[in-house]
Symmetry: C2
Subunit: 235 residues, 2 copies
């Protein structure tokens, strides 16, 4: 019997590896990518390539204007994406790039999709290690949302579960990269930079965490950077 | 200090009364209505009038294509909205009008809105008495979602709460109507019918529950019906 899974693919490293894990577990993948007005639009093109690389049965680019509420530098043109943090500062405070309720909204829509196509699994690439300090990336968030899923759905009432899988939740970035390498994940088609120009900036929190992960993993990051931090030495 | 509340206004009776309750409690209302491809589009126009009637500071009509996932007769043109149920059958099974994950999606987006505008309250007009049997209208759903809210948000991390208020959750439909009458709710601008023509059909689950409520409340339903059930006698 075919096991269907809804996979959230953002275009970043973590969701790329997560989708590869789902594929490796034998799931038929129904990919969903959110177009929420993010400034780093390049993500969406990367997501399309990632979905192809895991043989997604279908890929929905879901438009959702949570950006019209404002409140985040990732979607609000009037706010600058934070740059030039020290690595050691990342994760200490909830940053300006935080999009209110983002993962709650994304998981809810994934849930609606999963229930409509009768999929028993949802895969999301959140990670709580080497992360930016977003509250909706923590294990307790996934746990609380799973409870909502069990109660809110027709499937749940019938005693069947739609399982939220977050397989990289507790992995360090370098271990996520190692896992992806093992599964032949197409890292050249991932995008992490918040700034979203032709080359990754190498200065935003997301670039820094990614580069640190690659450095620690011993693998080379295949994408191009505008400027690499001093502590990152290419092999 | 102004207390802001995000109010979900569907255009139906329950959300109309809920919005009036929020107004009566002194909240400044930020209304949100979801355009999710529902066949009963008349709801949206009603929602606009309801938002005006409670002096909403802002009213967002939020477009969200959960209908593209399919699975519900409310949005899927190939499925008929259930008609001609007996009143006594309503609520026994989850009906074909169930939209997968709907209230989870709606509350998530309301949450994103609330956090972005720094509102401490969300009002939703779900009701678990005289209802259609949707799993995401039950008290345990609201409770589980509140837990997600507390964990998922920046506000929650800072120890502040965004409270989900469902003031008609445990009220009978007739009591909701009485409450609305007390607050001068504009019932003539509400729409409950799933079929969505010029006049309400008087045959779908939603019409039947509404008419039963009016009958029990002793008030007259001000909207027009195509056909009234035998047990409903106009006063």
């Amino acid at each position: 019997m075919i096991k269907k899974a809804v996979c959230l693919i953002s275009g970043g490293l973590d969701s790329c590896v997560t989708a590869n894990i789902a594929k490796n577990k034998g799931f038929e993948i129904y990919a969903i990518t959110f177009d929420y007005g993010q400034k780093h639009r390049k993500e969406i093109n990367c997501a399309k390539k990632i979905a192809q690389s895991v043989d997604a049965k279908k890929h929905i680019i879901f438009k959702i204007n949570i950006n019209e509420f404002g409140g985040s530098s990732l979607t609000d043109e009037s706010l600058d994406t934070e740059l030039d943090h020290e690595l050691s500062d990342i994760g200490k405070e909830i940053p300006i790039t935080y999009v209110p309720g983002r993962n709650t909204v994304f998981l809810s829509i994934a849930l609606s999709y999963a229930e409509a196509i009768d999929a028993g699994s949802i895969f999301i690439g959140v990670t709580a290690t080497d992360y930016s300090g977003y509250p909706d990336c923590r294990p307790e968030f996934i746990k609380a949302f799973q409870k909502v899923v069990n109660i809110a759905t027709k499937k749940g009432v019938e005693g069947k579960i739609i399982k939220i899988n977050a397989p990289v939740l507790n992995l360090k970035k370098s271990d996520i990269i190692k896992k992806g390498k093992e599964l032949n994940a197409c890292f050249q088609n991932t995008w992490s930079c918040y700034v979203g120009e032709k080359k990754a900036c190498g200065r935003c929190d997301s670039c820094l965490l990614r580069l640190k992960g690659f450095k620690e993993s011993g693998f080379k990051d295949p994408i191009k950077y505008k400027k690499l931090p001093d502590w990152y030495i290419e092999k």
